[in-house]
């Protein structure tokens, strides 16, 4: 983490460098912003052809060991793919699928790993059902219940914000089981009895669903190892913070470009508006916030999994990336004037993305609260 001169070191692998290059080009080619707008209007949940390309590039298996068909790298390498996709507001199931795979890696039984990880590498979409109607970010605050009945578990309750639930072949649900938290895998067949309802969400590039589990039952063999479910939830939370930070850093970079383009072309009072410091200086501030967030992001990526420092780093990255994208996209709306108030202006797409990402796994203030408890109570 620190070099011999006690400066922090960002670990950056050759694989990360390669992937960053490939993903940057891929995202630019496949996700121009008019494409994001077409996705919003599209009736099907996902653009299958682009998804297939991402699968064939091996991106779903980046952080999955080779024995299960992946490439045996880590989340640091996933970050280099997610960041450019975030820049172009791609709304794909890559992040949620990766998170489910992470949970299975941490707490899955050998059988579960053997079945699901290879499928995920080959493009099976997986969805996460963690959030509940109370909206609490504490993943252990569970009202969805699993009740044992013989060799089956009967579920009840509602989960919200389950993205891509309709396309998913696998949904990972967090439940309360005998007063402890547990994680259950549901395949398409098990989901049959659930009521799945489309949600209207602020980030329109997402497809999000509310799932009512009453009447759903699965074999107990679908339970991730109970003794490891707390560790799996922790892994999901930290990996989500990391990948959301990547998505938000990408987004902040994209919206800075958007607003800078406008400031370089729009004229008022006979001058390009970018020459006005009331606009120029806040955009520079947004750039500084992005620079800082991005440095934290790649630091966190490099040390992901480290017992304490790893968690500190992802929470810092999430807090700073959230602030950066929020500020940059908020100012981008204002700096487009009346056009900024329109649906046609791209600034709103980024602002919506910012609110979506902040609402997932805790916003900046929530992260800082966790950081305070981790850092300020040690009497050093």
């Amino acid at each position: 983490m620190w070099d011999a001169d006690q400066r922090p070191v960002i670990k950056f692998s050759d694989e990360q460098e390669q992937l960053l290059g490939v993903a940057t080009n891929f995202a630019r080619d496949k996700f121009p912003l008019d494409r994001a707008r077409k996705r919003i209007a599209a009736s099907e949940d996902l653009d299958r052809s682009v998804w297939e390309e991402m699968v064939s590039l091996g991106w779903l298996g980046i952080a999955i060991p080779e024995e299960f068909g992946g490439s045996g790298l880590g989340l640091a390498e996933v970050v280099t793919v997610v960041e450019p996709l975030g820049r172009h507001l791609a709304g794909t199931p890559l992040v949620s699928t990766t998170l489910v795979a992470q949970a299975i890696l941490v707490a899955g039984t050998p059988a579960q790993k053997g079945v699901w990880l290879p499928k995920i590498c080959q493009g099976a979409i997986a969805a996460l059902a963690l959030v509940e109607p109370h909206g609490d970010w504490n993943l252990k605050h569970l009202t969805v219940q699993a009740r044992p009945e013989g060799d089956r578990l009967v579920l009840s309750g509602i989960k919200t914000f389950v993205t891509d639930a309709l396309s998913a072949e696998l949904v990972l649900v967090s439940v309360a089981l005998a007063n402890a938290q547990a994680l259950v895998l549901l395949d398409k067949a098990a989901l049959g009895a659930a009521v799945i309802e489309r949600e209207v969400v602020i980030d329109e590039t997402r497809r999000s669903y509310r799932i009512k589990f009453d009447g759903v039952s699965v074999a107990t063999t679908n339970l991730l190892q109970p003794s490891l479910s707390a560790a799996a939830l922790k892994q999901i939370d930290e990996a989500a913070c990391l990948l959301l930070s990547a998505e938000m850093c990408g987004g902040a970079s994209g919206v800075i470009d958007t607003v800078v383009d406008y400031l370089k072309t729009r004229k008022q009072f006979g001058r390009l508006i970018g020459s006005y410091q009331a606009l120029k200086h806040p955009v520079v501030d947004a750039l500084l916030m992005l620079d800082a967030a991005r440095s934290h992001l790649y630091y966190a990526a490099g040390i992901f999994g480290d017992p304490i420092e790893g968690e500190l780093a992802v929470r810092m990255a999430k807090a700073l990336a959230g602030d950066a994208l929020t500020f940059a996209s908020d100012r981008a709306i204002q700096f487009h004037g009346g056009f900024g108030f329109t649906y046609d202006c791209d600034a709103q797409l980024y602002r919506r993305r910012a609110i979506w990402c902040e609402a997932q796994h805790g916003d900046a203030a929530h992260q800082r609260r966790k950081l305070a408890d981790m850092m300020l109570d040690l009497q050093t």
Partner: protein
């Protein structure tokens, strides 16, 4: 040939031990926190002797050429030594203007005579340098500098004044931007750049009292002061380019400096300690949720500075907007220091209102003083507002203001 890892580790141990053994004892008076704040003679001589000691030990100018007084070694070694000075919080190298901007400038574009005359004295602090850029009426608009240098045979005659001259009272030489041609087609082309002696007839240095109540910088008056044409560096009329090259060294955007640190920065860990000591509602301030949130923000911000430099060393991670981190480090670092100091004051509760000199002032009032002094870096070297302009225009390509 660059030294291998084993050599580096051995060197690091050697430097570490040397500074541990030789760090000066507390002189019993408050030391300045940067070269811009050297006010009294006792402060100056203390710092000058310290710089000489570090140079004599071989830890300054290590990568500068041997023939002029440098160490002729690799930059990596100097970086290790500099880093160790920062880490051990030993006093800074006071001849900053010589070490970090005049020196590299002279090595880069000075004549053989100039290199022989100036480099050694910069390193051993025998010859202190000051900078004559800002004028009473022209500060941020440096290109509009009006101090007159009128050609007269093989000499130039200087008239006018420079202001905010740090170290001016102790300086033997000055880097000077002056107007040699009043008829030039634009304001930049009339400028020339000189390396001038300070102790000559017609130059008068008058101390200015700064906001802390102490003395620090000066106003320098020029009345028919005569200098030789050999003082020119660069072409007559080419002063603006030389000034820009100097500012690139000053802001650390380009390498080649002698090394050593030029200011003492506060660290957030010191403020966390303060928050444990300070009281709110009968409890340690560190238990207050609002204060905790601010502390976390400052901790993250301090890390951002270090992580930015770490990322700047990884090419693919700065390819998107090259130069962004280098160009913004002065802005980010100085504004962070100002906010950190400000917060340290508010933590003290009612006691924030004490000042240096009162026996109840927390840590001798050093936070009150360092808060005021933190503005030296948000104003000097190009204000934060000017830095915003520069970053907006050069990194983001926004139109000029």
């Amino acid at each position: 040939m660059s030294p291998d890892k084993q050599d580096l580790d051995a060197f690091r141990r050697e430097v570490r031990a040397w500074f541990e053994k030789n760090r000066p004892a507390d002189p019993g008076f408050l030391l300045p926190q940067s070269f811009m704040e050297v006010g009294t003679d006792e402060q100056f001589y203390f710092l000058r002797d310290w710089q000489r000691k570090v140079y004599d030990a071989g830890y300054l100018g290590m990568a500068w050429p041997k023939e002029y007084g440098g160490g002729g070694k690799s930059q990596t070694l100097q970086d290790i030594a500099t880093r160790e000075m920062v880490r051990q919080k030993v006093p800074f190298m006071t001849n900053t203007i010589g070490l970090n901007w005049a020196g590299p400038l002279i090595l880069n574009m000075g004549s053989e005579d100039q290199k022989n005359a100036y480099i050694k004295g910069i390193l051993n602090a025998e010859d202190i340098w000051c900078q004559g850029f800002s004028e009473p009426d022209n500060g941020s608009d440096l290109g509009n500098a009006q101090l007159r240098a009128e050609p007269d045979g093989k000499e130039f005659v200087l008239n006018g004044s420079k202001i905010w001259t740090s170290l001016g009272k102790h300086a033997k030489y000055m880097i000077l931007l002056a107007r040699t041609n009043l008829a030039a087609t634009n304001k930049y082309e009339g400028l020339s750049f000189f390396l001038i002696p300070m102790k000559i007839a017609g130059i008068d240095v008058v101390p200015i009292r700064k906001l802390t109540g102490e003395f620090g910088f000066n106003q320098t008056f020029f009345a028919d002061a005569r200098i030789s044409e050999s003082c020119l560096i660069g072409q007559e009329g080419g002063g603006w380019q030389v000034a820009m090259a100097t500012l690139a060294f000053e802001r650390g955007a380009v390498g080649g400096q002698a090394g050593g640190h030029s200011m003492m920065s506060k660290e957030v860990s010191e403020v966390v300690r303060l928050a444990r000591a300070a009281q709110r509602n009968g409890h340690p301030a560190i238990e207050d949720p609002v204060i905790r949130d601010r502390l976390v923000q400052l901790i993250m911000e301090e890390r951002s500075l270090a992580l930015n430099s770490a990322r700047a060393r990884i090419k693919p991670l700065v390819a998107e907007r090259p130069g962004s981190i280098d160009m913004s480090s002065k802005l980010a670092g100085s504004e962070y220091q100002r906010r950190l100091n400000q917060f340290a004051l508010s933590l003290q509760g009612a006691n924030a209102a004490y000042y240096v000199g009162d026996k109840n002032a927390y840590e001798r009032g050093q936070w009150q003083r360092s808060y005021f002094n933190s503005f030296s870096a948000t104003i000097g070297g190009g204000t934060s507002e000017i830095q915003h302009n520069i970053i907006g225009e050069r990194v983001l390509g926004l139109p000029k203001s």
